[in-house]
Point group: C2
């Protein structure tokens, strides 16, 4: 067993979830997942595929019709330049696309820069492939996390192989501006650095934009830029458990990506891809409703939290998480455990995402019933009240 693998941190969120094992009274907001089942018509497409007997291997890069539908959707969101199918690979989930991108790009000892706080999987994947990681921390200014462009560009030296970032960001809600993206892309071009952009939350964006999405590297990049953008069906289509995602990459590396898919999972299940195809074709029946519901969930949660004395947060522009501090309660893992044990409230400790966010908490507001959020807020208040005594 590699020492490095043993040393990878066990998820602190899982550690916390274990505290609640066997208890039905816990309101869990710790995972990044809606509690709403995948829409019936999407499930129906997979069921019909199974009934037709589509149980065989399929193309490494994904079903041709699905790749076409993804290319069309990516072009619609990020035109005017067309994004062709020669840049699309279908994967067994967004996380799988990210792992495959790391396998494609990271040789042992390569320098990789990450922007933190960050979903821990992104750091772990690079480490598994033998990367030397440098973390550039975002800085919390008031309740909002901001990028210090100077320290990022300073860290992106010519010796760096790859920059990994996630915007809209899990856990902070921080979202790159167009201006920041242009500076980063320009600099990485000059230095010969690859960019791996996890943009799975791009649809879950609550500001007005032309395409309804958060700013994306695909809006400003050329087809041959050293850029891989990763997407998932999980969040925008309520399809977490399906394990279906995709990447947009330069056409010249697609055949190598196909090889890596062969060596990792061979292909995504065809019946799962049929569900993805219908989800994209009828996206208008799902995503706008999901986003508008999430926006109201966000507002309920953030306004509720802001009304609590001592809670510090900024309403996030994107994603599905409120990220907040509670004055006087700075050990996020200890406090999170107490919240589960004492009032049945499950939030994720900021420690799970970076050292610099160890005093913060992440609360996923993707809740079918917004009343669950209100109840959760009451539990937090109740707990703070007992602490003040």
């Amino acid at each position: 067993m590699r020492q490095l693998i043993q040393n990878l941190e066990e998820s602190k969120i899982r550690e916390l979830a274990n505290e609640a094992m066997g208890r039905s009274d816990v309101l869990a907001f710790w995972f990044g997942e809606s509690d709403e089942v995948t829409p019936e018509f999407i499930r129906r497409a997979a069921i019909e595929s199974l009934e037709r007997g589509e149980t065989f291997y399929t193309h490494n890069l994904g079903l041709l019709e699905l790749r076409h539908a993804i290319a069309k959707e990516m072009s619609r969101r990020h035109g005017p330049l067309e994004i062709g199918i020669e840049r699309i690979a279908v994967t067994s989930g967004g996380v799988n696309a990210l792992m495959i991108a790391c396998q494609a790009l990271i040789s042992p000892g390569d320098e990789v820069v990450v922007l933190t706080p960050l979903w821990p999987n992104l750091c772990a994947q690079a480490l598994i492939m033998g990367a030397k990681l440098t973390s550039v921390p975002l800085a919390p200014t008031g309740g909002a996390w901001e990028l210090d462009m100077e320290s990022l560009l300073g860290a992106l030296k010519p010796s760096v192989r790859l920059l990994i970032l996630n915007s809209p960001n899990n856990p902070t809600g921080w979202t790159l501006t167009r201006d920041e993206q242009m500076k980063i892309l320009e600099h990485c071009r000059e230095m010969g650095i690859w960019v791996l952009a996890d943009e799975v939350y791009e649809n879950l964006y609550y500001e007005k934009t032309v395409n309804g999405c958060a700013p994306s590297f695909l809006d400003i990049s050329r087809a041959d830029d050293s850029l891989i953008v990763v997407h998932s069906f999980s969040k925008s289509f309520l399809m977490t458990g399906w394990r279906l995602g995709w990447m947009v990459a330069p056409a010249k590396i697609l055949s190598s990506i196909g090889k890596l898919i062969e060596f990792n999972t061979s292909c995504a299940s065809l019946f799962t891809q049929r569900a993805g195809l219908v989800a994209l074709e009828r996206a208008h029946e799902v995503t706008p409703r999901v986003v508008s519901h999430l926006k109201s969930c966000r507002d309920i949660l953030c306004n509720g939290l802001k009304a609590i004395e001592g809670v510090e947060l900024t309403t996030p522009r994107g994603g599905m998480y409120a990220f907040f501090k509670i004055n006087g309660h700075s050990n996020s893992l200890t406090v999170s455990k107490k919240l589960v044990q004492q009032v049945g409230l499950g939030v994720a400790p900021g420690e799970a995402f970076a050292k610099e966010s160890s005093e913060w908490f992440r609360w996923c507001f993707a809740s079918k019933e917004p009343s669950r959020l209100t109840l959760g807020i009451h539990r937090l208040q109740e707990w703070l009240h007992t602490q003040a005594k």
Copy 2:
């Protein structure tokens, strides 16, 4: 892009399959897949799970009931020692289990020994993780491939980290004997070498044995041996396209395997796992029928091939492939292409598996209709006839 990834060979089987693109008259025997749809009751279990709305993330290591069923089945096959669920991880296919095992065990520069000819994915996975590969070739004696124990043990020096082998073997049909397994395991224990055994074909074994399976390392190993055995639902349950497999590993590394699953695919889809559970519970309705059918397919194909002048082969004890030579036609890639183009017969070139098998051909006999095999044999005869003119 890593040079190493670019250098990984594109599948020669895919190269060949591309030759047949758009032709409906080709009899394809090049992929390792039955042409029979997954049994209805297995598909039904996934459909019912989807109807119930089981579309959420599940445990990294797999559904508890499925892990129990796998542990029970592994104990039944490989007792008397019980194999407990603390040694079982469910993965997104056998290939995914193998990749995760490589991530767990191979640090950059580690020496890895492989027995060849071999399914090319096994070498590629080790290379992706930065292994230095040493290949120990099996030797064809007459039509049968045999292990030279002395050269294998000679290659397994204390500096070696890992031995990777696949028995019953794809493509040769070679199968380790109990005696050979004991010698290898004993030696690896002494030298501190891990064994990664791809045993996905263990059920597809045509000799009489107590448990109906090929000899397995699990029959003779201790629970804490440095051994990972990989399995798949693909072959014994006609579930290739589902992407569901498992590994049996020492209990002490299971939590690390769980982390790696999180970073690779997070989990296998729950509805897919429900199908796997029903497949195991009702294995007696599928596997014996599949194996007995494959045995008659094997006999039809091997007897047919043996009757052709100049064809050299031994009937394999296990697996689903006939591996053969044709005197006077030694460039397997060129000949395979001609067979597709000229008589619509699709076999896999031995070149795809190792240098030393470049004069051989692999023919998958997993055919729902045995008449397809007979027709294929006729096409080979027809082609040889035109060549002789």
